[in-house]
Amino acid sequence: MPARITLPTLSVISVALMAAAVTMIFFVAPEDADQGISQKIFYFHVPIALTAYVLFGLGAWKALRVLWTRGERYDLESYTAIHQGTIFGALTLITGAIWAKASWGVWWTWSSNQLVLFLVLFLFYCAYFMLRFSVEAGPRRERISAVYALFGVALIPVSFLAIRLASDFIHPTVFTREGPQMTGTMFGAFCVAWAAIVVLALVMYSVELAGKRTDAHLRELREALGR
């Protein structure tokens, strides 16, 4: 995170972007000709999914630094990023399910590759937490978590490919969600929404990280003061 932009500034930017995004989505961008109003879910669902990837990637990058530098602080950063990523992953699944219901009348469809991929990733990263909480705090845990986080970024493209391949023999694609047939303002709304979600994720990441760091400092202080 760039040091010059402070957390309060970032929060303000986040609120402003979010307001702009909602305004653009509902008042500026026209309604989709085919899908009607339910296409509006797309403006949040897809940016949330993309942001989850960014967070998983960030977690893996910090994990790499754990392995390089043995830095305790990178472990905390990697953990926080993956935690956020999992929250956004869960949101992707829920908003995706609602969208599927709105446009196809079912809550879940295996033919939506993105949803299936997120289900796999969600399971994978839930196991990350199970693994992490089963190992005693210390460098061993930092390293094991880091290696697992790195496996995650390898799994994302491999699973993506696998799910593409699987759809050939498991379910012939019945539903298609046509790519961006977006007009100018629709695309603009999408971009603003994406920016808003990314900044929101950054704010949440920073707040959570600050909380975790304060927690660690507090325990250190308590020990220094002799309980």
Partner: protein, 196 residues
């Protein structure tokens, strides 16, 4: 050989070793004492390279393949015999003339008769002696011994004593014990750890 400055070890919030500083020259014999929980085992694991210090600087001037570590556990396979265990570790350590050296060590530590039995059938004392064979196998220049006398009977302790005397001067030794008298004549230094 070893230089430790304010070396501290934590596992999360739990402090396993209070900051400790000491230096040990080549050929020295350092005895580490301290109550249970003072961090003897932790310090020795740090010296052996099985763990890294959380804070402080620790420099050990011995490559890993010239280091012998005796832990609480024997660090061997229960379902292999003594010879098979030593063959495996000797190969990994690239010990020259393995067979002869293994035979000599088994003889010296009184395991020759039982060399083909599975380690799981050994008594604790025999396992400890086998662990000593494993430690001495590759002729280490630094020995890190964690409570080597526990679990040994009189005979085993005498043999260990013999081995230690053989090593004095030639190798550097760090030995943790709660029974300082046993090694009174050997030690050149003493480090007392305080529980946190």
């Amino acid at each position: 050989m070893i230089r430790a400055e304010e070396v501290e070890k934590r596992y999360g919030q739990r402090r396993a070793l209070r900051p400790v500083s000491f230096a040990l020259d080549r050929g020295g014999f350092l005895v580490v004492t301290g109550a249970n929980g003072a961090g003897k085992t932790t310090l020795l694991r740090l010296l052996a390279g099985l763990a890294a210090p959380t804070r402080g600087a620790l420099a050990v001037d011995a490559s890993r393949d010239r280091l012998g570590y005796l832990g609480h556990e024997a660090l061997v396979y229960g379902e292999l015999s003594a010879v098979e265990n030593l063959e495996l570790f000797g190969r990994l350590y690239r010990v020259p003339e393995r067979r002869e050296r293994i035979g000599m060590l088994l003889e010296r530590l009184g395991l020759w008769e039982a060399r083909r039995e599975r380690v799981s059938a050994y008594s604790r004392g025999m396992r400890q002696r086998l662990a000593l064979c494993r430690v001495l196998l590759h002729d280490p220049e630094l020995l890190v011994l964690d409570e080597p006398f526990t679990a040994l009977d009189e005979e085993g302790a005498d043999r260990l004593d013999e081995e230690l005397r053989r090593l004095v001067g030639a190798s550097t030794v760090v030995l943790a014990t709660h029974d300082q008298d046993r090694v009174a004549g050997l030690s050149t230094g003493h480090l007392a750890l305080v529980a946190s």
